[in-house]
Homo-oligomer: 271 residues x 2
Amino acid sequence: MVDCGEGAQIQLRRTNLSFAKLGHIFITHLHGDHCFGLIGLISTFGLMGRTATLHIHAPEDMRLMLKTQLDLFFNYDIGYQVEFHAVDTTRHEVVYEDRSLQVESIPLNHRMPCCGYLFREKPGLPHIRRDMIDFYQIPISQINNIKAGADWVTPDGEVIKNERLTTPADPPRTYAYCSDTCYMPTLHKQIMGVNTLYHEATYANDKKDNARKYYHSTAEEAAMVARDAHVGQLILGHYSARYEDETILLREAEAIFPNVKLSDERLVFDV
Amino acid sequence: MVDCGEGAQIQLRRTNLSFAKLGHIFITHLHGDHCFGLIGLISTFGLMGRTATLHIHAPEDMRLMLKTQLDLFFNYDIGYQVEFHAVDTTRHEVVYEDRSLQVESIPLNHRMPCCGYLFREKPGLPHIRRDMIDFYQIPISQINNIKAGADWVTPDGEVIKNERLTTPADPPRTYAYCSDTCYMPTLHKQIMGVNTLYHEATYANDKKDNARKYYHSTAEEAAMVARDAHVGQLILGHYSARYEDETILLREAEAIFPNVKLSDERLVFDV
């Protein structure tokens, strides 16, 4: 999960997503709309009987906040561990890694320490061609070897090349989340070629002054980052409440970059 | 406002209630469903340009919580003052008073320091009888004197008694809020004769064991308090999520006390 504003647990409950599968939460900065829901989510996990450790990755100040809340509200007794990992918002570096995923921090420029996150899926294994396995009557025990690249030698001694037994792995996906930030002309270098970029678009061009003043971006600026980074698609969000209809943000972004989508509550995007 | 769970600001925005008129928030205890929405509300007030002081009445531990949140999230800079008033949850005493209202703490018995609140409206002034004012052609300047109890002397010297010029003031209203608590056999003594009692009713009789274990009440127990305190009406709430239909709570309470209502989100009751 990236960020956790007030009511996030309620929104999460409205989806079909499993609470149990959520192991890591990445917080960009300590403005309320990005973190006020964290303590409620942590509390509810406890009430639901969670036992797995929950990892919070966030700017250093969040550590004291969490500690105070866990102490005062729960006397640290929520039935599972909450582990805090401080993120240096000034550096672009790997902040988390496991077998299938790597997460990097993306320094952003907002009114307080703030960073985005870049999720890089690791290359997967090739897909087994079921038809070829059946044809050569290859035993199940050999599947992992073939996935790992092995050829197959038939009882007659014929060598079947690995590329005939498999189809290539899906290309690894990359997703960059950049909110909140003013326009950063060099941001694209850190997120070059990602499949999906979420970039804040608080204002349209009519409120460029506000964007400067509050360290936010316009939709056009978000699109400039997407264009310069050659991303697959751009998802906009974090709209100012002044826009009852966000179509203007979409239009202004599309004038710069073609593949733009407007995020909305509980909308699901394929990355 | 009494208590402020996560998302309270969203619910408040869905009503027609004025944010500006909210000056005092009374927190019963530090469980998340009663206070996790406080910092979000405080934050939003700031964004809306509030300047009036906001008063928080709560158990002592809330002071450090608030201080930490205001410091870390806002560097104390929200544009208005938040003033904290510690409430001693072990004592039944006046915790707030102004010209029209007095608020008393009601010690409750829960898993942590917890108290309810009793709101006593102060006696109002009698109503002016418009028809009599017109009949005797009494000038507007005299209205406040008559409201304060003065008779009227006509130009002919006839004395018109105050009770002919006014109708009695509305009886002052009293409202007691009691959540969360296990059944307290002597609670009724502190809230004798209130117009409206809100009492938690987490469980029906089928889960009396849970009520004991978690220091909550059954609907029947809430009704026993209402009956013993001779209240005007009882409002139930704080239902366990196990009851998809709360009618069973209503029925079990009604078997003990006749005038029971089920609270629900954004439902409005006349006290």
